[in-house]
Amino acid sequence: MIFETVLITALCILMLAILANLYRVVKGPSSADRVQALDSVGINLIASIAVFSVLLHTHAFFDLILLIGILSFIGTVAFARFIERGVVIERKR
């Protein structure tokens, strides 16, 4: 019972963190801030899914955790390349 309360509290805190990150996504001021915030949202999502899985006693979402990890990495790299060079995938010429 206590364990569950702790988990739910953790989830709520993570949710708040996501909301705070989203505020940063909205507010800016620069694109880099937004990308950074989005990456952070991804990490928080991983955490909250993990907590949620524990809460539900299921391991169906473990794939998702891994996937978010990869995607958030790729996404951040892609954004970074875009901000840096203006393109994501360069042409072979």
């Binding site: 949710m15 996501i18 989203l22 996504v25 909205v26 999502l45 979402f61 794939d63 998702l64 892609a78």
Partner: protein
């Protein structure tokens, strides 16, 4: 299939062989000779019906066409259809013989001409012999189409094309009206056969659809028979070759409407609306046609308007004759039976003399190169035979003895005199207008007949105004008009032969309810000094007076304003309609996708929200909903923030990022609602989509990369809010209206049924694998499409560089 149908379909069947004949035989002999055998054989075949039909017999033939729909080609040979059948084939034979000499073997595309002509002849025969209403309609439209083809025979001329278009538009308009009327009649009586309808008269006459059906059928009849105000196509149809004008536009097709009115008289006759429309429109047409014919200088146009006027006369007589149905058997009924008889008599006479006159005009045109009355004159000495025929035809049309037109005109005067004293349908007040208008119109008719004959053949011969060296026409060309001219005189002296064998049976089919005795009496009574004769003498006296003084008033009549003519109205109406349609279409088809989306969404909202409100569909039932957890609230809040950010983003990249965030939160929802597969897929797809958006963002053109807010528009706001509201209400209401248990329990047996522990995947590839296959093909198509688009573009760029 009886021998009757062999002859009925002979024209259409032989039309198929015309191109063959034309290809192999036309160099040797004019193919018109072969064609002329077709109507001649049908004519001879139909002649053998005369004794039986005159004795009161009728014949019915049937071949099944679509028996399951009760669509069978039912043909019915009675007096009326036999009269028309003989006219069609008889005049047809003469016209084809005439056309052999009129149409050049070398210059003209004869195979086209004769195919169209045979097609028309077959359609016309089918029309008059049909008893099945829808089959009748089919043949009716076929006459319109073949007439269209024949009018535009010289399709390289603009006026031919315009005339054909006008004729088609007007007659097909009437044809559609007639179809509607027929369908109403079929609905009322539950039968397709005209004869069975006549047998069930009381069902029709007490039905609410009686008047609408009558109006629709009359629209068809009036447009086809060039009645006021639909007659304007007929003068323009004079662009057709003269044999066509002579055949279609005087003797046969324009009488299809007359046929229809005569055929429908037993059904609709005796009604005041029918009487006033048929007789009233008829007599207006008579006056209008005769007055307008005076204004023409072109001989064919003059004959066209005279045809209109004579058709009005026949129509008026049919209207008066329908009173016999009202009075029924008895003395008054018998009086008006004569009017119907006169209508049939004049119909026959008109076919003879108008055919003659058209052929005469054709001869004049052919030999002098002119058709305009202002260039012609003094042809009497050069073309004496043509002059004689024209004189016979012209005087018959004017209504003089000893020609058949006299007899029918006398009967016409008798009928209008009788109707003015009928004293029903409000006739006691304005019935007197009938004889007056008829008399005035007859004077005009007399004058234009005089002009036709004597301005062309009398006066000074002026060869310098003519384009060819004038001489008498060849005998082959004169043959047909001579036959018709002889018939004109023959009928005057022996009208009773025609009356007894052909017209009386036809009268029996128009007025089947009258006793037999009422048909016979009147035919011989065509002599005697009476009111009609006085009227005719008046016509001749005033007519001659007017003809002598034409110089004083004719020019004034011709010059009077063109703005009030029906043609002007038609042209203005047509171009007005086009302009209106264009402006209407341009107003809403703006080419802007934004506008089309507004239409689609507002229509969606109006229909769905409207029906929700109308049928009290908005009912919420939250009883079965699960509890809302704090995670749901948090996620929804986040999604709302992200969605609003998309809307109010100040640059595009921010909108893209917010959209991505939205997508991720959707996948979070999938997590909360325990859908791991969906969450996985959503995650990947969202990422790829965001990357694609960024790609698009990068490729925006440099010039207009103005980074602005989305401009605010009140319409868009209202529509988007209404749209969201509609969908929300729909979703909530639908949620409260679950009627049946879901079928989820079936899929829970996935392991036993499909050997899969993952239900979602089992559904995707096993239970409903078909959908998955098609989704895969959708992706394949999308991939191929993208590849092709990109590849083509780079290819084109390469081409441009090499150039």
């Amino acid at each position: 299939m009886s021998i009757f149908y062999t002859f009925m379909f002979l024209p259409i069947i032989s039309a198929i062989f015309i191109p063959l004949l034309y290809k192999y035989l036309n160099r040797l002999v004019h193919i018109g000779w072969f064609v002329s055998l077709v109507p001649l054989s049908i004519f001879i075949y139909l002649l053998q019906y005369i004794p039986d039909v005159a004795a009161g017999d009728t014949y019915k033939y049937t071949i099944s066409w679509i028996p399951s729909l009760d669509m069978n080609i039912i043909s019915y040979v009675d007096g009326l259809s036999l009269l028309f059948g003989l006219l069609i084939t008889g005049v047809g034979t003469l016209v084809i013989i005439y056309s052999i000499f009129y149409m050049s073997k070398i210059r003209e595309a004869l195979h086209n001409f004769y195919i169209y002509l045979l097609m028309f002849m077959g359609a016309m025969l089918g029309l008059v012999f049909s008893d099945h209403l829808l089959v009748l309609y089919g043949f009716w439209e076929l006459t319109s189409v073949s007439s269209f083809l024949l009018i535009s025979y010289w399709y390289e001329r603009k006026s031919s094309r315009q005339g054909a278009l006008k004729a088609l538009l007007i007659t097909v308009l009437g044809g559609f009206g007639m179809l509607a009327g027929f369908i109403m009649m079929i609905m009322m009586t539950d039968t397709y056969s005209i004869r069975e309808m006549i047998a069930n008269l009381d069902v029709i006459q007490n039905h609410t659809l009686f008047i609408p059906a009558m109006l629709c059928v009359l629209l068809g009849a009036f447009t086809k028979s060039a009645q006021f105000p639909f007659g304007i196509w007929l003068p323009d149809a004079m662009e057709a070759p003269t044999p066509v004008s002579s055949y279609l536009h005087s003797a046969t097709m324009v009488k299809a409407g007359i046929y229809l009115v005569a055929r429908m008289t037993p059904v609709f006759g005796g009604n005041s609306v029918w009487f006033w429309l048929v007789a009233g429109i008829g007599i207006i047409t008579l006056l209008y046609g005769s007055l307008t014919a005076l204004r023409q200088t072109d001989l064919k146009a003059m004959l066209a308007y005279s045809t209109i006027s004579q058709l009005g006369l026949i129509m008026c007589l049919l209207g008066i004759g329908s009173l016999a149905v009202y009075f029924g058997p008895g003395e008054s009924g018998t009086v008006f039976t004569v009017a119907t008889f006169a209508a049939l008599f004049h119909l026959f006479n008109h076919s003879t003399f108008k055919g003659t006159l058209f052929m005469v005009v054709g001869i004049i045109d052919h030999e002098t190169g002119r058709r305009d009355i202002r260039y012609l004159g003094g042809l009497m000495q050069v073309m004496p035979i043509t002059f004689t025929i024209a004189l016979i035809g012209g005087l018959s049309m004017a209504g003089l003895p000893p020609f058949n037109g006299f007899l029918s005109k006398e009967m016409f005067f008798a009928a209008v005199n009788d109707v003015s004293q009928a004293g029903i349908f409000g006739l006691s007040n304005i019935g007197i207008m009938f004889p007056i208008i008829a008399w005035v119109a007859s004077i005009f008719t007399f004058v234009y007949c005089m002009i036709f004959v004597f301005k062309t053949f009398g006066g000074q011969y002026r060869p310098e105004k003519l384009t060819r060296k004038v001489h008498e026409a060849p005998w082959g060309m004169l043959f047909s008009p001579i036959i018709l001219g002889l018939l004109v005189i023959f009928i005057f002296f022996f009208p009773n032969v025609l009356g007894k064998y052909i017209l009386t049976p036809a009268l029996t089919s128009i007025l089947p309810m009258m006793p037999i005795s009422s048909y016979d009496v009147k035919i011989s009574a065509w002599h005697g000094l009476n009111m009609e004769l006085v009227m005719t003498i008046g016509v001749i006296a005033i007519g001659i007076l007017l003809f002598k003084t034409t110089k004083r008033w004719l020019q004034a009549l011709r010059n009077h304003t063109q703005g009030l003519t029906l043609n002007h109205l038609y042209n203005e109406g047509l171009s007005g309609m086009e302009r209106f349609s264009v402006s209407l279409t341009n107003r809403y088809m703006t080419g802007s996708l934004r506008h089309y989306l507004i239409y689609i969404f507002s229509f969606f909202v109006i229909v769905l929200l409207g029906s929700l409100l109308l049928f009290h569909g908005i009912q919420f039932d939250f009883a079965s909903n699960s509890a809302i957890s704090i995670f749901d609230v948090g996620l929804v809040l986040g999604m709302i923030i992200a969605a609003l950010t998309v809307l109010f983003a100040s640059n595009r990249i921010m909108a893209i990022v917010a959209l991505g965030a939205l997508g991720y939160m959707v996948s979070m929802f999938f997590v909360i609602f325990l859908a791991p597969d969906l969450a996985l897929t959503q995650m990947v797809v969202e990422t790829v989509t965001t990357v694609l958006f960024l790609l698009c963002f990068y490729h925006l053109p440099k010039l207009k990369k103005s980074i602005e807010r989305i401009p605010f528009k009140l319409t868009n706001l209202i529509i988007s809010i209404a749209m969201g509201l509609t969908v929300t209400l729909l979703g909530l209401s639908a949620n409260g209206h679950k009627l049946f248990e879901p079928i989820t329990s079936f899929f829970e047996n996935a392991y036993e049924l499909a050997g899969a522990k993952n239900i979602v995947n089992a559904i995707l590839v096993d239970f409903r694998g078909f959908d998955t296959m098609l989704e895969i093909s959708v992706l394949a198509i999308a991939g191929l499409g993208v590849y092709i688009l990109v590849h083509q573009r780079s290819k084109r760029r390469e081409q441009r560089e090499t150039e």
